[in-house]
């Protein structure tokens, strides 16, 4: 009986090696879009990818969305799609600056061109020679420092350019968040009558953000503005403001125009929302890959789309609706 199974196994192995994979004849370019995680930011990016691809006549394969953030979710999906093949370019939001180097290098070695969108490998500077991450064509994503600085400027306007402000951040390890905080700090410093009285890290836990903000409000009772670096930190900060009975006296700014943040803006939970441009990132990614593969155009190593700002006044403006992530 055992012999029979080894015979079946042997035949299977022989077939595996003998049957060759026939290369397809390519008429049309095909790109793979590999998002970072299942969330509105990346679904918005996908829309941008699809729209530009349709315009240029490029085929798009959208990989399965990882159900959580992390290389252990993303890499197996990426590798399965790479094994399936049939694409000439890859747009990916790497979920780790280190762990994606090897799997992406393997795909690059097969002759596939790569652009990273929203997040990057290493320090994101692909122009440096002699690194193990300089092979992608380009990084297309936000300048988080600039965004933080612009938040500071817009928040300053809302509070009359004077008073104490506080920053409720998520995680010092995430480069994008660290950049936002750095930019915010620098931005506040440009206003002589404003002072940043503290930065706390809530590790993405809303409850913690609430406790930390409440503690900050007890230390400095005259805080006039708070920057929550994402949805959870902004919501926690708001809850603390509500509990302290300071609604209206404190302006809250948040990052990312998710439906939740926009609803919060309409409800008065937050007063200012920065919108990144995920759709534009996706669209630019497709465009540059296409230009490189069809015309060998030199691709800039870094492409930075700008930001839009939502306030109570413009949130219902029809022109602004395209920047909401949905």
């Amino acid at each position: 009986m055992k012999k029979r199974y080894s015979a079946v196994l042997a035949i299977l192995l022989i077939l595996l090696t003998v049957v060759p994979a026939f290369g397809q004849t390519k008429k049309q370019l095909t790109f793979l879009f590999m998002p970072g995680v299942q969330d509105p930011f990346y679904t918005t990016m996908e829309k941008g990818v699809r729209a530009k691809a349709k315009e240029l006549g490029v085929n798009i394969i959208v990989a399965e969305y990882p159900k959580a953030w992390g290389p252990e979710y993303q890499v197996p999906i990426l590798q399965a799609y790479a094994q399936r093949g049939g694409f000439d370019g890859l747009l990916i939001a790497p979920t780790s600056v280190d762990a994606l180097k090897a799997p992406l290098k393997a795909i690059y070695d097969k002759g596939i061109e790569i652009i990273t969108v929203d997040t990057f490998l290493g320090d994101g500077d692909y122009s440096k020679p002699n690194t193990d991450y300089n092979f992608p064509l380009s990084y297309i994503g936000s300048d988080n420092e600039l965004g933080g600085k612009m938040i500071a400027e817009h928040l300053a306007k809302l509070v009359g350019e004077k008073g104490k402000v506080f920053c409720e951040a998520t995680n010092p390890d995430v480069s994008s968040v660290a950049g936002r905080v750095k930019g915010f700090t620098e931005g506040v410093a440009e206003f002589p009558n404003m002072k940043l009285v503290g930065v706390e890290w809530c590790l993405d836990v809303q409850q913690k953000a609430q406790e930390q903000t409440l503690a900050a409000l007890q230390r400095d009772k005259d805080i006039v503005g708070i920057f929550g670096t994402n949805v959870f930190s902004a919501q926690g900060a708001n809850q603390a403001v509500v509990n302290a009975g300071l609604v209206g006296a404190i302006k809250i700014a948040s990052w990312d125009a998710t439906i939740t943040n926009i609803d919060n803006l309409k409800k008065g939970v937050v007063d200012l929302v920065l919108a990144q441009k995920p759709a534009e990132m996706g669209s630019l990614g497709v465009e540059w890959l296409y230009k490189y593969l069809t015309q060998k155009v030199q691709v800039p190593k870094k492409v930075i789309p700008g930001f839009e700002f939502f306030t109570k006044d413009n949130v219902n403006d029809p022109k602004m609706q395209q920047y909401i992530y949905q």
């Binding site: 009986m1 199974y5 079946v8 299977l12 077939l15 595996l16 090696t17 049957v19 994979a21 026939f22 399965e64 992390g70 290389p71 252990e72 890499v75 197996p76 999906i77 590798q79 399965a80 799609y81 094994q83 399936r84 093949g85 049939g86 780790s96 280190d98 762990a99 180097k101 090897a102 799997p103 393997a106 690059y108 070695d109 097969k110 002759g111 193990d132 995680n171 010092p172 390890d173 590790l203």
Partner: protein
């Protein structure tokens, strides 16, 4: 042998029943190969084993305890604990001036020793204090999770030597287009040329241990004792087996394999984090059950457990390659689990 000829009429049916997983795997491979050309290749086969490494190791961890009639709920977070501690150790050794290779080896070996501790405590609680395995290992899940979180403070380990990723994502043997062989390092070839990679390092690493423990379970006295304990613990005690000692060993082996899974994760993803193995516990238990082990204890083999884990691994990677959502995996694994238990009732003793 003689018994076989007596039961000849039912032998074909029995054979099918006993080996349905192997048949099922062949069917899966045929089905996926028909659906997508790219599935049918050596690379896909290797990718399935590579992606499944951690689940293979955790399934073996679970098997040793399930054979004794217990369960180990802590394996997923012991794995996470292992990723955190080993990665921090490697970074520490590298910081002390050790070479990358020495740091990785030292960190891994020290971790393999530390990794015995959760199992030692689990086994002691179960064997000596008669704490139900479910409770003892559930507590260990909390303890290892908590310690890992305290150590990382929400920040996954970083700054590991890049050699870790080269080892973790590399293969044992490479064949260049001109036929030249090279070991451990991918040869430099022009971009777009195919280099054939054989035997991913992490798969070799995992199966070295899996084969060793398959031998221990299948051929050594200690292995027979485990089946005896799971089959009838009172009879095992009466026949003079040192049940307490052997139970502790089973839990230590479980925790050791969870540690190995953690090391594999660190090498592949060059980081460590508390919840690295959080969603793998149920897959590991499913693999053992699909492999025909009884949750009541006394049965199960390493070979069939690997087949059980392979079913899950083939489904996950295969569904992706043919372009289907892997959420289907959950449904299919659930259905196969039930099927496995029913088939075991129709054809009892298909194991051992």
């Amino acid at each position: 042998m003689h018994a076989d000829s007596v039961n000849k009429t039912s032998s074909l049916q029995e054979r099918l029943g006993r080996n349905w997983i192997a048949i099922f795997i062949v069917l899966l491979v045929v089905l996926f190969s028909v659906s997508a050309r790219a599935f049918f290749s050596v690379d896909t086969a290797q990718l399935i084993f590579f992606n499944g490494t951690e689940v293979f190791l955790l399934a073996i961890a679970e098997l040793f305890v399930i054979i004794t009639g217990g369960i180990d709920l802590s394996v997923g977070f012991v794995m996470g604990f292992s990723t955190v501690v080993s990665s921090k150790l490697i970074v520490m050794f590298a910081g002390m001036g050790l070479s990358p290779l020495a740091s990785i080896l030292a960190g891994s070996i020290v971790m393999m020793i530390i990794g015995l501790l959760p199992g030692l405590v689990n086994g002691w609680l179960v064997a000596y204090l008669r704490v139900p395995a479910f409770i003892a290992t559930f507590s260990m899940l909390g303890v290892t999770h908590g310690i890992s979180e305290l150590m990382t403070q929400g920040i996954p380990t970083k700054n590991l030597p890049s050699l870790a990723g080269i080892i973790g994502n590399g293969s044992f043997l490479y064949i260049a287009p001109n036929g030249a062989l090279s070991f451990f390092a991918r040869p430099q070839v022009a971009r777009g040329q195919t280099v054939i990679a054989i035997l991913p390092n992490m798969v070799v690493f995992a199966f070295a241990f899996i084969l060793l423990f398959a031998f221990i379970l299948g051929k050594m006295k200690f292995g027979r004792h485990l089946y005896a304990i799971g089959g009838n613990i009172d009879a095992a005690i009466r026949s003079g087996i040192n049940v307490k000692r052997d139970l502790i060993k089973a839990y230590v082996i479980s925790s050791f394999f969870a540690t190995l899974a953690g090391l594999s994760y660190v090498m592949k993803y060059i980081t460590g984090k508390p919840d690295a193995g959080a969603n793998m516990l149920l897959e590991a238990i499913a693999a053992v059950v699909i492999g025909g082990a009884s949750m009541a204890g006394g049965s199960g083999t390493v070979g069939r457990t690997i087949l059980g884990a392979l079913v899950i691994a083939i489904l996950e990677t295969g569904l992706r390659i043919i372009g289907m959502q892997t959420f289907m995996t959950y449904i299919l694994v659930g259905a196969i689990l039930i099927l496995a238990v029913i088939i075991d009732q129709v054809f009892p003793n298909r194991n051992r």
